[in-house]
């Protein structure tokens, strides 16, 4: 017997109930409802669009498999978003990225970036910037900045030390700042 969640609208409840019973049309409706949003999430955690689509597919498979476990605590979108992030983490762990990380001099900053520079960039460009990071840096940066996790939690999730997590974050920020500076200069020219 499907649960009734007070936080959900009737249509959401209907779709969820349909998905629990394995009804394909309900699953399709759910997918159509959240696919764009979740594709956006996956883009942040992948190096390109193809990888993002793989994560999206894995994530939705998990959503349909475990939808009966959704207890209605918090928003449904937040629950799906969390599953997508977990799918990305799973992919990251399984791929066991061993690419060498280019050391970056984090102390060297030509000048402070102004708000106006940031304002010039749209979300798509920022995603592209994050995608240029190495998988390790990108993962730490996303989990810390976008998901708000602590270094201890990140270290536990990625199987690294807290120090490595902090170091990766600092390096990721430095890379991104440099990239932003380049973009600023390009924009001024």
């Amino acid at each position: 017997m499907p649960e009734i969640h007070p936080n959900l609208t009737d249509s959401q409840q209907l779709i969820i109930n349909g998905c629990i019973t394995g009804d394909r049309s309900s699953q399709e409706r759910l997918y159509n409802m959240y696919a764009n949003k979740m594709m956006g999430v996956c883009m942040w955690y992948s190096k390109n669009r193809e990888e993002a689509e793989e994560i999206l597919q894995d994530g939705f498979m998990r959503v349909f498999t475990y939808i009966h476990k959704f207890k209605g605590e918090g928003s449904f979108e937040g629950w799906i978003r969390k599953i997508m992030v977990n799918a990305a983490l799973f992919k990251y762990r399984n791929k066991s990225y061993l690419r060498p990380v280019v050391e970056f001099d984090t102390n060297r900053h030509d000048e402070a970036e102004s708000d106006s520079v940031f304002a010039m960039l749209d979300a798509k460009e920022l995603v592209n910037l994050v995608q240029t990071l190495s998988p390790g840096y990108r993962m730490v940066f996303n989990l810390y900045v976008l998901e708000g996790l602590k270094h201890r939690e990140i270290a536990g999730l990625l199987g690294i030390s807290e120090g490595t997590s902090k170091s990766n974050l600092a390096n990721a920020r430095a890379i991104l700042q440099k990239a932003l500076t380049v973009k600023k200069k390009t924009a001024i020219v």
């Binding site: 209907l14 109930n17 349909g18 019973t21 394995g22 009804d23 394909r24 049309s25 309900s26 699953q27 399709e28 409706r29 997918y31 696919a35 764009n36 949003k37 594709m39 956006g40 999430v41 883009m43 942040w44 669009r49 993002a52 689509e53 999206l56 597919q57 939705f60 498979m61 349909f64 498999t65 900053h109 402070a112 970036e113 708000d115 940031f118 960039l121 749209d122 979300a123 798509k124 920022l126 995603v127 994050v130 900045v145 976008l146 920020r173 991104l176 700042q177 932003l180």
Partner: protein, 484 residues
């Protein structure tokens, strides 16, 4: 720097919250295929449970058949026991009964038979040998027993235990002698008791000379017939039938069958859809094939089981489908068949609304099942031909309820393939009867012509608009091989 970092984090954070991207259409296609695979795996997992139950049932039935047939129950009857003693040509060993043969109670008897020859010679004067019928003997005796000992034992029996007077004994002895004379040529040609026995004492004399070379064994026990048994046997065996040399031995036989069947069904419903379904659906010839295993436990009686796969095809004429709300609240076109229903949501055109209609062209509906029959068979006939009618029940496991059709409206058309209809039961019972006519090509092989009738005792549908009870008449051909 700190301010920059915070600005940067906020910037990325807000971009993360608002960023959307449209995935390619391939993602849903792959996801759909993945869900199909998952569903198939889940279905397989569920059907595995039924398979286990079927196998367990088959094993239990086999066990029951084997038990009933007495394959491992070789305990001979008292007659056989006495017969064995008579056939030995010498006197039997002294009697034991009950647990005397139990090694725990009788250490001597519990020892290996091979060592029997080394057992001590019984000294009747020292050893407490009581040849009375109920006496339990704890020592084995050898054929080298002395005459005096036999005499003493004989006297002891005569004096103490046998409640027969001398006169009666003489009469009994005469009677035994007469009986023995009459049947000596048939049964106990070598038995010393027969012709030379003059009276009961003579019989006792034979008993007092036990033959340890041929003790009667029942399992691990050395069972020695009692004197009273002996006498009773002597008196009555003449009236009993002579040894049957052509006794029936239970055997197994396996049959491979292929059957062509005409299937139909009985629909049970008060709704008008019952008539519609009956008019729309036309059964096509169905086919059954399988392997049957039969245990012939009596000359004329046997039990048959096995596995039969049946595929039934039903052609459905074109019809108009109407949009309904499915149990999940979605609007889709409902397609109802005799054995289940499905909701079809076309991949073209706008989503259907209540009252919308769509045409489904001719459809093919296929039902597949695996059956485990349990049939009692009676065999009549001799020589080359035999007639083996049977009746029993079948456990049927529905493995597939497929539907293939094409739907179309003004927006377009598409082929729909449904692998598993809703409203179908996974299991149903049926009664079955057949009448095999066998031609025995040789002792092992026979060819069968097998008319068969099946009738479902429980419906194949569950929560469908009609309750469907399939039945079929079939004519099968088979080859039977006897394992004996």
């Amino acid at each position: 720097m700190g301010k920059d970092v915070h600005n940067m984090d906020d910037l990325f954070n807000s971009a993360y919250r608002e960023f959307d991207e449209v995935p390619s259409a391939d993602v849903w296609k792959k996801l759909n295929a993945g869900l199909d695979k998952q569903e198939a795996a889940s279905y397989k997992k569920r059907s595995a449970g039924w398979k286990r139950i079927a196998i367990l049932l088959l094993l239990l039935l086999s066990g029951l058949v084997i038990y009933e047939s007495g394959l491992f129950n070789k305990k001979p009857s008292n007659n056989d026991k006495n017969l064995a003693i008579k056939k030995s040509g010498t006197s039997p060993t002294l009697t034991t009964k009950g647990d005397s043969g139990n090694p725990k109670n009788n250490p001597a008897a519990g020892k290996n038979e091979d060592n029997r020859q080394d057992k001590k010679t019984v000294n009747p004067e020292k050893d407490d040998i009581n040849p009375a019928p109920e006496q339990r003997v704890n020592t084995l005796v050898t054929p080298k027993i002395s005459v005096s000992a036999a005499e003493k034992a004989k006297r002891a029996i005569a004096k103490s235990r046998l409640p027969i007077t001398n006169q009666k004994n003489k009469e009994a002895g005469k009677s035994i002698q007469a009986d023995d004379m009459a049947r000596s040529n048939n049964i106990i040609a070598e038995n010393e008791i027969s012709a030379k026995t003059k009276n009961r004492l003579a019989t006792v004399d034979k008993i007092a000379k036990p033959d340890i070379n041929a003790p009667y064994h029942m399992g691990e026990k050395s069972v020695l017939p009692s004197l009273s048994d002996w006498l009773i046997t002597e008196k009555t065996s003449g009236r009993k039938k002579a040894i049957k040399t052509d006794q029936f031995k239970p055997y197994w036989s396996g049959t491979v069958i292929v059957s062509y069947e005409h299937a139909d069904y009985r629909l049970d419903s008060d709704l008008p859809v019952k008539t519609d379904i009956k008019q729309r659906e036309v059964h096509e010839p169905s086919v059954s094939t399988g392997v049957l295993l039969m245990r012939q436990f009596k000359k004329q009686w046997g039990v048959q089981t096995g596995l039969i796969f049946t595929s039934t095809a039903i052609a459905i004429t074109p019809q108009k489908l109407y949009a309904f709300q499915d149990p999940n609240g979605n609007i889709a076109y409902k397609y109802v068949t005799s054995s289940g229903y499905t909701y079809i949501k076309p991949g073209f055109g706008p989503p259907p609304a209540f009252g919308d209609s769509m045409t489904a062209t001719e459809a093919k509906h296929t039902l597949q099942s695996i059956s485990i029959p349990l049939v009692i068979k009676y065999t009549a006939g001799k020589n080359k031909f035999s007639f083996t009618p049977g009746a029993g029940i079948e456990f049927n496991f529905l493995t597939a309820a497929k539907l293939e059709t094409e739907i179309e409206n003004s927006s377009g058309k598409e082929v729909v393939f449904i692998n598993k209809l809703s409203g179908t039961r996974s299991f149903y019972w049926s009664a079955t009867a057949d009448a095999e006519l066998r031609y025995h090509a040789n002792k092992k092989l026979s060819l069968n012509l097998r008319p068969v009738f099946r009738y479902a005792l429980s419906p194949v549908t569950n929560k469908n608009e009609v309750e469907t009870f399939p039945y079929s008449f079939g004519l099968g051909l088979g080859i039977t091989y006897k394992f004996r």
